[in-house]
């Protein structure tokens, strides 16, 4: 008992004062004398690790941030005349690109359909996956495995391959059933976000005791819809939120399916605008990126706050 106590307190003392710590080790116990390395060596290792850590992280962050910084500089400095101006940003926030000779209607059209696609895709994805995953989680281990396999399959099938197969399906859908409006891309997008959404929801399902919750509320007389709305969804709120956020990020960044099927979305609009005015399209890309970071940081903060409130 005394020995374990001494050895657990040891590292702390070593950190606070080297020489003192060495004296304590020498006097306290046999285990300390048997330790192969003097504390100075360990301190040297920690210092070396800190240097490695700083160097590696700074280099990586430098590589990741240089293009972003260049993007920003590119938007405020006219590349040919070298003139500094905020025209590109002003054009985006006022919605009027005439000062730069650009027509922004295509951008708003693309942004509009991407936002609409986000909403519809998330709604469809949740309606399709949440009830299925919950029921299967309670009732059948085998079906759960099957659904996991299907839901993560899109990782193995590249989006461009999916487009080749979706081409005929969408040609039929848009000619005979629906219109050629970009909003119908949501059917393909649900498939694209499925692996990410599945992971997020599975984490939530595994972290609570779904079976007990359902049995308790069913035995107290709640109907299935009531169990879903009043018991399960509040408990799964965090993972539903993270599944939705990651889906929004994927949909906002999607280019492959939309461009090859000839539909307009944010990325296709950015690409088209980039052909005529690269400053505005670069500014808009940066904005979309910042929006993505804000979305994920917000998710992190919300889940942190929820965890704290649960613990209290």
């Amino acid at each position: 008992m005394a020995v374990t106590h001494a050895s657990s307190a040891m590292p702390k003392r070593n950190e606070s004062s080297g020489a003192d710590g060495a004296a304590v080790i020498g006097s306290t116990s046999a285990t300390a004398q048997a330790a192969p390395k003097p504390p100075q060596l360990r301190a040297a290792r920690i210092r070396r690790q800190n240097i490695i850590k700083t160097v590696v992280l700074s280099l990586t962050m430098l590589f990741l941030f240089i293009p972003l910084a260049a993007m920003f500089l590119f938007t405020v400095r006219h590349p040919l005349s070298g003139r500094w101006s905020l025209d590109a940003w002003r054009a985006i926030f006022t919605g009027d690109g005439s000062s730069l000779g650009a027509d922004l209607t295509v951008l708003w059209q693309g942004l509009g359909s991407s936002l609409g696609l986000c909403a519809v895709t998330v709604a469809l994805m949740l309606a399709l996956m949440v009830p299925t995953m919950v029921i299967v989680h309670i009732r059948s281990r085998r079906l759960e495995r099957a659904i996991e396999w299907v839901a993560t399959l899109p990782l193995t099938i590249p989006a461009i391959v999916l487009v080749v197969g979706l081409g005929p399906i969408y040609r039929w859908l848009s000619a005979d059933l629906l219109s050629t409006k970009p909003i119908w891309l949501c059917f393909a997008y649900v498939i694209l976000v499925m692996p990410f959404a599945f992971r997020a929801l599975a984490v939530g399902l595994n972290s609570i005791d779904v079976k007990t919750l359902v049995e308790a509320s069913r035995s107290l007389g709640a109907s299935w819809p009531r169990v879903f709305l009043r018991v399960l969804i509040p408990n799964l709120w965090q993972s539903i939120l993270s599944a939705s956020f990651i889906s929004i990020a994927v949909v906002l960044g999607e280019y492959t399916v939309a461009s090859l099927l000839g539909r307009m979305n944010l990325q296709v609009a950015l690409y088209q605008l980039g052909q005529s005015n690269s400053q505005i399209s670069t500014a808009m890309s940066l904005l979309a990126l910042v929006f993505g970071v804000i979305l994920l940081v917000a998710l992190d903060l919300i889940s942190g706050a929820m965890r704290r409130s649960k613990e209290q």
Binding site: V56, S140, I157
Partner: protein, 313 residues
């Protein structure tokens, strides 16, 4: 105390007076069947949906690869895979994917290790870098192309800086050269590696290092005998995932090159756009089929490595 005792005995008496009827076997079986049918019923929308928009497109690609223009079975489509153009595109695609996956996995693994050592799991830096990494890993291909055009394009900021400071001229075609492509692809590979490798580094216990040290091992021995073998399977499977990720990437390349089809996805794009020519449709499906085979092989291998690793843990 006594009253609660009385209450409980009373409760037991009540329970004894109204015995629960023994469950007869038949209704139980029926209700279990009904339950199973109910479970299946709830999953019907999910499976129907994935059949329409995941299974059907995949089958169209697979059958399309083996059928001729008039609908019969043929292997003629595959002959075009052996054409020098196609082979070159596959070679470039594989090379870019392997190189960017190598750089991405090594730098990403180092960065995750650097993030973990000597910091708390919920530290601000780690959470921020986590969020930024997940955005950059998803960073839309078009936006990524813009970022690099803004940096090293003809009028890019980096190009001008290099010109003014050092008198260096960046070749305007550098971005579309092999080193340029690998650099751009590494840009989304490194954050992806950080996301998928961080949990593995995180699960390394500091006690393992202490144990190795108390047995007289030095840093080299710790890495080659303890940490290396534990992390290796996860590293290999992450590398394979990164390879598949780069191999299936399309948007960046499509935004960078408008004409040349030097990568497989760009060849598919070219074949798809040529809808007038019926043979081209079959060609797109063969290329897509070959892509699925490559990516599926990488993913299968990655799963196999993970499962092997799972046996030790």
């Amino acid at each position: 105390m006594s009253s609660s005792n009385a209450f409980s005995t009373q409760g037991a008496a009540v329970a004894r007076r109204t015995p629960i009827p023994p469950p007869s076997a038949l209704p139980a079986v029926v209700s279990r069947h009904r339950k199973e049918l109910g479970t299946l019923g709830v999953t019907v929308p999910f499976f129907a949906y994935t059949a329409c928009f995941l299974l059907a497109p995949t089958l169209i690609v697979v059958f399309g690869a083996f059928s001729s223009a008039d609908g019969g079975f043929t292997l003629a489509n595959f002959r075009r895979l052996a054409e020098p153009n196609t082979l070159a595109a596959f070679g470039t695609s594989v090379l870019v994917s392997v190189l960017s996956a190598l750089i991405g996995s090594m730098v990403g693994a180092l960065a995750s290790y650097a993030l973990v050592i000597g910091s708390r799991p919920n530290g601000l830096a780690r959470r921020l870098i986590g969020a930024i990494s997940s955005v950059l890993a998803q960073f839309g291909g078009v936006m990524l192309a813009f970022a690099f055009i803004a940096t090293l394009g003809i009028n890019g900021v980096g190009t001008m800086l290099l010109q003014q400071l050092f008198g260096l001229t960046v070749n305007p075609n550098w971005l579309s050269s092999m080193p340029g492509l690998v650099t751009i692809y590494s840009y989304f590979q490194i954050p992806l590696m950080i996301i998928i490798f961080l949990p593995a580094v995180d699960s390394m216990l500091p006690q393992w290092r202490e144990a190795a040290e108390s047995l007289g091992g030095d840093t080299w021995q710790y890495w080659t005998r303890v940490a290396g073998p534990i992390l290796a399977p996860r590293f290999v499977s992450s590398f394979l995932l990164l390879f598949a990720n780069a191999f299936s990437a399309y948007a960046t390349a499509a935004a960078l090159f408008s004409q040349r089809s030097i990568l497989v996805p760009l060849m598919i794009q070219g074949a798809m756009r040529n809808e007038m020519d019926v043979n081209q449709q079959g060609f797109a499906q063969v290329l897509a089929f070959a892509m699925v085979v490559v990516v599926a092989l990488a993913m299968l291998l990655s799963h196999a490595v993970e499962r092997r690793a799972g046996r030790w843990q």
